[in-house]
């Protein structure tokens, strides 16, 4: 049932308005950060209050304005949107705390710009989550790219400028070239752009055209970092670590996979996907990314780069799950959005914490750091375990569902892909953990005394690590929403 409610709009507006407050109080850093925390709490509260509604199978819609005949800016908070919004807005609270600690310990410049852009980026993310049609989605998608640009180029150096250029060329370029094209084609054939369970494109055009539009969509959402359109993500790692953590492990990249899932479930629909054989095609396509990105990750010495390649690989899990088109597969894919978010943000927080405490960025320099920073590295271990999919950490749950889904689809090859990628994950994460805890500190450590990072930095990463564990024992809130999504998608 559709309920008209202004809540989706409020959830978006709160941080948009909040960014104004942040800019206005730029002279008073404490007040400014106070606003950030307050806004993130308010945003989470609004989003969380929608959970009961969507669990009962309803969705909230709100039409803001009709841009031009047939094209509306419309919001729709259904189970899938709320799932993503809850994940992003919850992690924003923790990231805000972390940002305060990180930015202040490093005495970074332009902090007002940073916090303001962050707030708008979250508005855009929630906008993507709650978009009811492709134009609204496209609008917030572009906004997210533009507003994260100053965050990526925060350092203001020539390298940052170069990175920003690449970031923009990939994200804005593909979205204009492919996504916009696909949207217009969809509108031409289907006559509507509204997301709907069961899809809108069935029978609207010849199969070949539909396949073409599908691949335009996949290429258009480069935020999902599917190979060969992935290389913006490692480049974007030049950003401050909290940005990499929330945006390039959660908000931006997940917005990409979220959008692709929207296309698969709500524009094409499960039936059409399977009748065109697009599901299995996509699954093989992203399998390539899963394996190759993991291999790339193995070769990286820079910690953040290794995490970035791991993200690329993990993002494709989500799409793989959805593309299986089986109940368990879809649940696994959707769950992985949240699970990976919690675990990867922990890992990035740890990387940032190491940087704050010791200014080290390379894995080869991390020998024995676990003894100096036990809390950080313990959290890192938890995150790694989750990535590999070892119980009792949340990563196991989504991987289990994904394997189950592959089995339901009777596809041995995909099972092998998933298992071997787990092995690869282990191969690039465990050496870091071993190095940190069991190797003797290198002599470069002697000159300076390294201790744990400030509390504002350490507490958030402990929280997310604990969150990853809790999600294993108590995944119900997310799992139940995921079930509702899948029921709607299959039943619709």
């Amino acid at each position: 049932m559709e309920i008209v409610s202004i809540k989706p709009l409020l959830a978006i507006l709160v941080s948009l308005v909040g960014s104004g407050l942040i800019i206005a109080s730029s002279r008073n850093p404490n007040l400014r950060e106070g606003w950030t925390i307050l806004i993130s709490l308010a945003k989470f509260a609004i989003v969380a209050s929608m959970v009961p509604t969507v669990l009962s199978g309803n969705k909230m819609v709100y039409t803001l304005i009709e841009l031009f005949p047939g094209i509306e800016i419309k919001f729709r908070a259904d189970a899938f949107g709320v799932f993503f919004a809850v994940t992003a807005s919850f992690l924003w609270i923790i990231t805000s705390l972390y940002s305060i600690g990180y930015m202040r310990s490093l005495n970074e410049h332009s902090q007002t710009r940073y916090f303001a852009a962050f707030a708008i980026a979250l508005s855009a993310t929630i906008g993507i989550a709650f978009a009811a049609n492709l134009v609204t989605l496209f609008m917030f998608y572009e906004l997210l790219t533009l507003v994260t640009f100053p965050l990526v180029t925060h350092k203001d150096t020539p390298e940052a400028r170069q990175a920003g250029r690449k970031y923009l060329a990939y994200l804005l370029g593909t979205s204009i070239a492919f996504q916009l094209f696909a949207i217009v084609l969809t509108y031409t054939f289907a006559g509507t752009l509204e997301f709907s369970e069961g899809g809108i494109l069935r029978g609207a055009a010849p199969p070949l055209v539909l396949t073409l539009i599908y691949f335009l969509f996949i290429a258009g959402f480069a935020k999902a970092a599917i190979m060969p359109l992935h290389s913006w993500l490692p480049t974007a790692m030049i950003a401050p670590t909290p940005v990499s953590a929330l945006l390039h492990a959660v908000a931006v990249v997940k917005a990409g996979v979220f959008s692709i899932l929207r296309i698969i479930f709500y524009i094409y629909g499960v039936d059409l996907m399977s009748s065109l054989n697009l599901g299995i095609l996509t699954a093989y396509f992203v399998s390539f990314t899963i394996i190759v990105a993991s291999l790339f990750a193995l070769t990286q010495d820079n910690l953040k780069l290794r995490l970035a390649y791991s993200t690329i690989s993990q993002l494709s899990y989500v799409i793989l799950g959805a593309a299986l088109l089986t109940t368990s597969g879809m649940i696994g894919g959707i769950m992985h959005i949240a699970v990976h978010a919690f675990s990867k943000i922990t890992l990035f927080f740890c990387a940032g914490s190491i940087y704050v405490a010791s200014h080290k960025t390379n894995i080869s320099e991390l020998s024995g750091i676990g003894k100096k920073m036990p809390l950080t590295m313990l959290a890192f271990t938890v995150g790694s375990l989750s990535m590999v999919g070892v119980p009792p950490v949340a990563g196991f749950i989504s991987k289990w569902y994904l394997l189950l889904g592959s089995a339901e689809a009777h596809n041995m090859l995909l099972i092998i892909v998933l298992l071997s990628s787990s092995l690869l994950n282990a191969a690039y994460f465990f050496p870091i953990v071993c190095k940190a805890f069991f190797e003797e500190p290198a002599e470069t450590f002697d000159g300076e005394e390294i201790k744990e990072a400030p509390l504002f930095v350490v507490i958030p990463l402990i929280l997310t690590a604990i969150g990853s564990i809790i999600l294993f024992f108590y995944p119900q809130p997310f799992l139940r929403i995921a079930y509702v999504v899948v029921q709607n998608v299959i039943g619709g």
Binding site: S26, R27, I65, E66, L67, F68, P69, I71, I73, H109, S110, Q111, T112, R113, V135, F138, M139, E142, L143, L146, P150, T153, D156, T157, P158, R161, G164, R165, L168, A169, L172, G173, I176, A177, L180, F181, V184, L185, Y187, T188
Partner: protein, 496 residues
């Protein structure tokens, strides 16, 4: 009632003020600006009134000297030209407000002269738009062109003279072609009234004379609108003209020429003739597609900001013409809407480019480095307009691009859709280059706190028009249904 006479007053008010400006200027040259503001505000008011009247009662016909058409000159106003009238007067007002300091700085000795010719230019533009008589259109076209040649020649550098000369030569060729075409039409029909022509021409559609007339019209107007490959006069003229002149020419004069072309194609001739019989629209759409690509590619190669914007105009004119050339209801909506949207965007961009020259003397894109710190609001306006050109949703550029894309795909003409997409990417390249320069500091200096810099914003009379135009780029992108209401009626009228 005086309101009945608004169509003629719309011409008379700027014309008389143009003629009285030299006198007023002898008292005090500062009064010229007030005169211009006053008369253009009046024109804006009148054109808004006319637009409102047309929306309610339909076509307005005003008989000059009460001579009945087709014997007398008729001013005929329908949806299309009332829409263009409002655009011209509105942009002109914004540019005029802005002109005060800019002209004072760039042309201190020629202020009086400038405003005289400037008002003549506006008169001509309004005249082309409002008239229902084809020979009258030619006369106004020449008034516009002569003022434009002069205004370009006023430019400070000596390149301006050469640009003006070349513009004049090509402009005269174009005007003479149009004159020849009018002669051919008069030869076979014996009338000059557009409405009358449209009823007398259909039986003569097989005549070679009519076909020749169409060919001369198209060639003549193609030069005036600077349709590739007849655009060669435009980049130099826009680059070397004074900032105010570049802005008004880019935003209004090519648009009015495009209007005149549409008027001749659709009113004097008929959609049936140009689309079905001769299918000139098909050729037009291909030429437009080339204009879009070539203009964009050439824009990338420029280092002078004004030249870049000028080449971008060549591409954007292609958008309008593509919309007309595809001649479906959707694409015509996109093309006509782009007349407004491009006027807003280009006016903003040229005014900002002028403002930067005014403040710092910088024209080179590479030197835009770090301007954000010095002129934050101006640069914000530039960014908005540039994003709108790229076609980011929520801006006016997106709306017209959407309709053009939809129009192309609806007809199954994928090539044109690809051209539109490609041009967006090219625009991303050349506009982002500027935006990037604006937002990156001059060199790598870690600024400890925000807002510590000395700001050098513009005087209010320059800043406010820029900001209003930039704001409209967003407002009309979100509230697109407002212009679409009238544009929908126009496309219904043209191809519906």
């Amino acid at each position: 009632m005086i309101t009945e006479h608004f169509p003629i007053l719309l011409i008379v008010v700027p014309l008389t003020s143009a003629l009285s400006t030299p006198l007023i200027g002898t008292l005090n040259k500062k009064y010229c600006w007030y005169t211009a503001i006053f008369s253009i505000s009046l024109s804006l008011f009148m054109s808004l009134y006319i637009l409102n009247a047309v929306m309610h009662t339909g076509r307005i016909s005003y008989w000059l000297g009460n001579w009945e058409p087709p014997y007398g000159i008729e001013y005929a106003i329908d949806y299309l030209n009332s829409y263009v009238l409002v655009i011209v007067t509105f942009i002109a007002l914004a540019v005029t407000i802005y002109s005060k300091w800019s002209v004072e700085k760039e042309l201190p000795e020629k202020t009086v002269l400038f405003y005289t010719v400037y008002l003549l230019l506006i008169t001509g533009l309004l005249g082309i738009t409002i008239t229902g008589d084809i020979f009258n259109l030619y006369v106004f076209l020449e008034i516009t062109s002569l003022s434009a040649y002069t205004l370009v020649a006023i430019g400070k550098k000596r390149n301006a003279l050469v640009a003006s000369y070349n513009y004049a030569i090509l402009g005269t060729i174009s005007a003479t072609f149009i004159l020849i075409a009018i002669g051919y039409l008069y030869m076979v029909t014996g009338t000059l009234n557009m409405a009358d022509l449209s009823t007398k021409l259909p039986p003569l559609y097989d005549s070679k004379v009519v076909l020749t007339a169409l060919a001369f019209f198209m060639a003549g107007f193609s030069i005036k609108v600077a349709l590739f490959p007849l655009h060669v006069w435009l980049p130099d003229a826009y680059t070397h003209a004074p900032s105010v002149v570049s802005a008004i020419l880019a935003a209004t004069s090519t648009k009015v020429a495009a209007y005149a072309m549409i008027r001749v194609m659709f009113t004097v001739f008929s959609p049936e003739f140009i689309i079905v019989r001769v299918n000139i629209t098909h050729i037009l759409s291909w030429i437009a597609a080339f204009a879009i690509i070539v203009g964009s590619v050439l824009a990338i190669a420029q280092v002078d900001i004004k030249k870049m914007l000028a080449y971008s105009s060549v591409a954007q004119i292609g958008y309008i013409m593509l919309g007309i050339g595809l001649s479906t209801k959707l694409s015509v909506t996109g093309g006509i809407l782009h007349i407004l949207n491009h006027a807003l965007m280009k006016a903003t961009l040229f005014l900002v480019a002028g403002a930067v020259i005014y403040k710092t003397g910088i024209r080179n894109i590479e030197e835009y480095r770090g301007l954000r710190r010095e002129m934050p609001l101006t640069m914000l306006a530039f960014t908005i307009a540039a994003l709108s050109m790229i076609g980011v949703p929520g801006t006016v550029g997106f709306v017209s691009k959407w309709y053009l894309l939809l129009g192309a795909l609806h007809e199954g003409k994928w090539v044109f859709a690809l051209v539109l997409i490609l041009s967006s990417l090219l625009m991303l390249v050349y506009f982002w280059r500027v935006i990037e320069n604006i937002y990156f500091p001059k060199m790598h200096v870690a600024v400890a706190m925000d807002g510590g810099d000395k700001k050098k914003e513009l005087p209010y009379t320059m800043l406010v028009p820029i900001l209003i135009l930039a704001l409209l780029c967003i407002a009309l992108g979100i509230l697109a249904f407002i212009p679409l209401k009238i544009v929908g009626m126009i496309s219904q009228m043209l191809v519906g």
